[in-house]
Amino acid sequence: MSAVILTPVLLTGCDETLSTVHPAGPAAAVIAQLWWVLLAGSVVITTLVAMLVLWAWRRPEGAVSERRFVIGLGLAFPMTVLAALLAYGLIIGEKLLPHQGPEVVSVTAEARQYAWRFGYADLPGRITDDVLHIPAARPVDVAITSADVIHAFWVPRLAGKLDAVPGHVNTLRIEAASPGEYAGLGAEYNGPGYRGHGFTVIAHDPAGWQAFLQGEAP
């Protein structure tokens, strides 16, 4: 796919820790795929419109079919494409939601200016600052809230972002396909310290996760 062609050209020698197009989990992967589909479709449509303008420009003066331009190109064509796209987007969106399941791990995230504090349903009382521990290859539901202003929880390589709104708890499903460290960001502008408002997600292998749950500081 075009990803394979484009990516090395633009990204050689870079460290893509924040890239949405270098997914490291199922949610981000589905959305990255959606992006490549959207890009391909958009390139096709842009090209078609450009060719149509060129044709229109060179065509000699004379009547054109209003029906063809308005109903065919203006109504039928976009409505077909958009209906398909809408269905695709909604189906994906539904799959990405935090549905209940046996494997799901629950954690909490509380944002403040300018720090993150994480808690664990499986390990009550344990708090980690600016580092979120999760098991790899298992769905994790992050219950996100804020202690002051609005922030957003975003780990670009794992999933989309969700806001931390004071007084509300929003739940985001994330999952890392393999163990490792993933960069996370506060992704809603929140004042002078915005740039540095990040955190790290550490995805453990099963043994590492067990060790974490037993209170061993990793």
Binding site: L10, L11, C14, D15, E16, L18, S19, T20, V21, V30, I31, L34, W35, L38, S42, T46, V49, A50, V53, A56, R59, E61, A63, V64, E66, F69, V70, L73, G74, L75, F77, P78, L82, L85, L86, G89, L90, G93, E94, Q113, D148, V149, I150, A152, A159, G160, K161, L162, D163, P166, G167, H168, A187, E188, Y189, G191, P192, G193, Y194, R195
Partner: protein, 815 residues
Amino acid sequence: MNALQRHRALSRIWASDPGWRGWCTSVNHTDLGRMFMAVSAFFFIVGGILAMLIRAQLASPRSAFMGPEHYNQIFTMHGTIMMFLFAIPMFEGLAVYLLPKMLGSRDLAFPRLTAYGFWCYVFGGAMMIFSLLAGIAPDSGWFMYPPLSSTINSPGINSDFWLIGITFVEISAIAAAVEITVTILRYRAPGMSLVRMPIFAWYALVTAVMILTGFPPLILGSILLELERAFGLPFFQVAHGGDALLWQHLFWLFGHPEVYIIFLPAAGAISTILPVMSRTRLLGHPWVIASAVSLAVLSFGLWVHHMFTTGIPHLALAFFSAASTLVAVPTAVQIFAWIGTIAKGRPQLHLPMMWMLSFFATFVIGGLTGVMVAVVPFDWQAHDTYFIVAHLHYVLIGGFVFPMLGALYYWMPHVTGRKTFFKLGNTAFWLIVPGFHGTFLLLHWVGLLGMRRRIDTFDPGQGWEVINIIASVSSFVMAIGFALVLIDVVVNAAVAIRGSRDPWGAGTLEWAMPTPAAPYNFASLPQITSREPLWDTPELPLQLARGEGYLGDPSRNRRETLTVEPTTGRPEYIVVFPGNTALPMLMSAVTGLFFLGMLIKAYWLVPVAALGVLACALVWTWGLQRPAPEGPLPVGRGLSLPIASEVAHPPGWWGSLFLLVADGTFFGSLLFGYAFLWTIAPNWPPQQWAEAGLLPVALLIGGTFLALAASRVRSLWPVTCAAMLAMALAAVMVLRAVPDPGQHAYAATVWVLAGYAVLHQGLALIMAGFFGATRIAGHAPETTGGLHNIARLWSDYAVAVSVMGIGAALLPGWG
């Protein structure tokens, strides 16, 4: 009387004062349109300089050019200035300048209101510029999300400048929108039915109605947030029953229509210019009208797509995702109608047409990225990254600035009356368009690589450096292009080579006059029989100059124009316009004191200024009243019509009606906010509901029936006043039932509801009293009928909002 004598007589009647005084006292739409556009161009330059500072800062990683405290002010003000002080006023200026000329009228419906709106814009804009120069500009981002923008997290005066300054500027948007709506519906040449109306007028009408219904939620939000900041009313504080998301709903209820408020006038310009440049008529004209109306209404159902990441349930997101894809359909209809127009005509590559083509090349991409972010999961990744920054600049620059540059080069010969002199504009084109794409195309990609918008600098190593330096260099190329446009305009305005009257061979009425336009526009008003009068009757300009149309006889020695019935274009009555006056400028200065008092917390000044505004308004309105009737007067071509002061629904009634549309949207937004807090906000219910007992309810019901009946009988105006006082008493009693509005958002909402009711009861009382004054002064019944209907409209509205507002406040305590 020959054409020259007629020109001299009309010029004497219509001319603005000479010299600098003319700037302050002019109420002429040509003057004010040019002033609006010049000032908004100034703000475009200011916003552009801020953009250059942003790109300078982001040119390299770990930039030491400026720190976050300055950067945050700069990006906030860049967005704020471009949206509120450039784009909207530029539309207002273009519409103010063009509409009467296109519609075959001599001025807009309310010339002094145009001037008042202009000066509010200037004074409000000056406030914003002052904050920027003083280093105390707003710094919470142009959408000002609380709690970040509220007292705890932004204790300084910065946010107040935004909330108060922008609200002040919005007066001009509302004033212009009322003006434009009434003008398009009524101030047309005889015979110009809705179907024969130029397409630009359709777009302007749609846009103006959108401003009337789109801006009130923002004005409400700004007032609520300022009340929270100034007096501790906790609308957005979750601990006290408020909710930060309420702001986002109110802001985007405005913010999304705003995008189309900016795009639609540009689309109107395209629909006007592109067929002329293609030597043909617009393809699918009725479809384009239907598209414009569809876009306008659909755009009000999109606001939540700016909130896809706020945790709203998927079912609700689906509604807005579907609406956001649907809105692309009418856009597509227009784009393909325009391409079809090029296809059926003989396109010519003049500079305005080049800008139309650059619009296609840019806006199509912006539209497609717009469809992308309408897809919910993709937005979860793209939201608040540079992908969005790139998308919105493609839409706003591609969809507004480029067509407006086309419009600039299309109508510049009309404004200056001169031939395009120097080919600098072509050079500028080739700097701006590639510069634009160089700046923004790759920024989509850097957003997907994780670059968040609004970060003040970035670390190397993410693959962002090359893209950012390309963007920065390209942005300076684009800036040089804009500078050349500016020089081009100055050169063209200064070099005196007289141009021909209709250089593009257009068919619309604005080219049926000598250019630059005389202050009276048309020496006589045409009878319209088609959509392109100049194509059907090429000799029309001469006929009009010879006085063969309507109102060609200046012997009544006053500023007159005609109005028509909205649908059919049948002439209805004569309007007599006021002359030059500094009153609008004075009144907007006093309005400015009102806002200044709020801003610097000199609260004693606020009621004083409010009384000052009222005094100005009374002087203003009293001058319109005519003690004695004149009866039907000849308007030429064998027709006699009454004048506006002797009809049942004069322009003031129409203006009031559309002002009340905006006011009603404001009130509706307030009720929405109340319902939102009640159902969604945490920490509800409050400790106690308002329980005021039976007396206020009785006063309210009694006052309602009394006011409804009395406002319909001329002699009973004192009873209307008494009914308003009774309802005001009821509102005050409700207020006393919730003594501390700072303790919970419910109590705060009750105060705002009751305060809103009292304000409108007061307005209705003043209207009824004003009508009474004309009776006491002995004005003839023939000349006060319209005024009576206006007073009744305001009285009915006051009754409605009193019942609904106070009812809603008392509702939860009833059970």
